[in-house]
């Protein structure tokens, strides 16, 4: 019997194709409360599609996605948006920050969208920036930040609403090893402190080693699971 926590997010028999190209062929995955899971695999194995389906970014063609026991794949787009704003935090390799907003406004944005007054939102955003060591850069725009700083700001933005799950798609893919290490340390540390689960897509074994569990995908299906040493 598994000693894993009860699944917070679960995918069952996911099928997804882009045109005639199959991306997922019956993929299954569970992520428990507070668990950090790395999904690895070769390019084109369906890693990002799996994350997109779990986060409600893409609707699967077949199978089910549940979050906290409720079907995510059946939710309307507005409800999915709300879920990503409140319960989920999403991080990509790059591009998730609004280029025209300062770092602090980028982090404050999800709070403002939830109705928090701007001043309060900025105060909380600054706390998160401080936590990730980029408070001094709070008035800079994404284009003026280094890659590592930008990803830490993105991480602050993903975590500022206190999500229960963080979906991170190659969060260190565009960074050098030192910056990548800083981002991963910040991500894992913050997730552990807040009890958030993390689904991490990566092709980098060093990054996968931060996870509690690694799941491998091949040709759109899970081929094995193991706990990294």
């Amino acid at each position: 019997m598994s000693n894993r926590p009860a699944p917070l997010v679960a995918a069952r028999d996911l099928v997804k194709s882009y045109g005639r190209t199959p991306a997922l062929r019956g993929a299954c995955l569970e992520v428990g409360e507070g668990e950090i899971v790395a999904v690895t695999g070769a390019s084109g194995s369906g890693k990002s599609t799996l994350l997109h389906c779990l986060a409600g970014i893409v609707r699967p063609d077949g199978g089910t996605v549940t979050y906290d026991g409720k079907r995510v794949d059946l939710l309307p787009e507005d409800r999915l948006s709300e879920l990503r704003r409140t319960d989920f935090g999403v991080m990509f390799q790059f591009g998730q920050l609004i280029p025209e907003l300062t770092a602090v406004d980028n982090v404050a944005l999800p709070l403002m969208l939830a109705g928090t007054a701007r001043g309060t939102a900025q105060e909380r955003a600054e706390e998160w920036l401080e936590r990730f060591g980029v408070r001094e850069q709070k008035d800079l725009r994404p284009g003026e930040l280094s890659g590592g700083q930008e990803q830490r700001v993105a991480l602050a933005r993903a975590l500022v609403t206190g999500p229960r799950v963080v979906f991170a798609d190659e969060p260190t893919g565009a960074l050098d090893s030192l910056a990548g290490e800083q981002v991963m340390t910040a991500l894992v540390g913050a997730a552990r402190a807040s009890g958030a689960a993390v689904l991490l897509i990566t092709h980098d074994a060093t990054v996968a080693a931060y996870a509690d569990r690694e799941v491998r995908l091949r040709d759109g299906a899970v081929v094995g699971a193991e706990v990294p040493a």
Binding site: S48, F92, D105
Partner: protein, 450 residues
Amino acid sequence: MRTDLRLAWLFIRGSNRQEWWRIALVVAGATCATGLASAAAVLASVRGQHSFSFAAGLLNQPGERSGAIVALLLLLVPVLGFLGQCARIGAVHRDRRMAVLRLAGAEPGRVRRIAALETGLACLLGSALATAGAVAVLTAVWERPTALAWAGIALVGVGVPLLGTAAGVLALHRVVASPLGWVRRTRTRSGRGPLLLFTGGLLLVDVAALGGVTGTSMNSRGAGSNAPLVVCAAVLAVGAGAVWLTGALSWLTGRLLAARTGSPAVLIAAERLRDDPWAAARIHAAVLLVTVIGTGFAGIRQALLTELENADDTHGFAADDSFYTTGLDLTAAAIAFGLVMVLVALAVGTAESVATRRRGLAAQVAAGVPRQVLARALLLETALPLAPAVLVAGLGGLVIGTVYSVLASGTVPYLSLLVPAGIYAACLLATALSLPLLHRSVRPAELRYT
């Protein structure tokens, strides 16, 4: 150079659907520009009194012809704005192509030259079409066109593609493409670049208008009127002022709102305005010019029609009212044409802005930013800076119309104030046309493809 030209041609031939849109719109813009400039050149080649069999005698006298030349050349202003916007369509694909060229070993300058030549070739096609049309019309309506008229048409036919290429080089001169696919624009916070480019275009239109009008207006003693010089100087001043005004208002609006707003949509719009207040300044300036001229014309038209209704034979009007009504109708048509060009340019510019940012926008939606917030931000980017600018332009036009009306009939044409309101609403509608594209572009699934 020959290799660059061949490469540009190959790129055009291998264009995808979006690229064909850009090429088709550039061709359409170049056709309009060549047609208008050719007509102005032919009219400018006519000396003294001449009897034309069309336009209700409006073009027979040098004075009225001067007005027609100025009107035709003024119509080039929105066409230039339209062409400027069209050149930006497909920037994402163009940027990828530039990156591949850089990867293949082309220098940054050469990459920009090839990209500009693509625009030049599209302009050449439009110019050829319009020149063929101009030749056909000229031979049909004028039995023996003068050598000067032919020279004017030839000059315009050659000049438009050359100017298109030169404008492309200028527009891209700050774009730096890296072999890894990143394309960045070195920052120009002062806004002098777009201002100089647009003012340069206006100056060119002015010089052409001045040359044409002075030649046409010469009376038999060889003395010219000062009116064309005054009109051209006024147009240049108003045009440059409009660009500066829209840019400055965008920056000020962005700065004021970004610091104070609590609304995410307003914050995004305000920061975009503050970040690059000159992005839409050229096309907004064209909106202002159309607003000033349209509002002023509405007042003048109202007063002139009232005057014609009340006139008797002793007032010294032409015997046939159609001389005036045809003039008013043609002017209204010209203003409507200018407005349509401006609105299309505005819609194209907004759509292109969405297309260029689609990956970032899709990432925003994927991260939970509601589409409605992004849609409101997009509309506000146009609505916020344009509201005070159109108001000022409308008041300016009202003053022009009022001065004429008071002198002519003693009334104030308040109805003409509906013109700026209508133009403002039309601008918002044109911007809103890009909302379906926004909704399609920000689908998080776009992250797969971009």
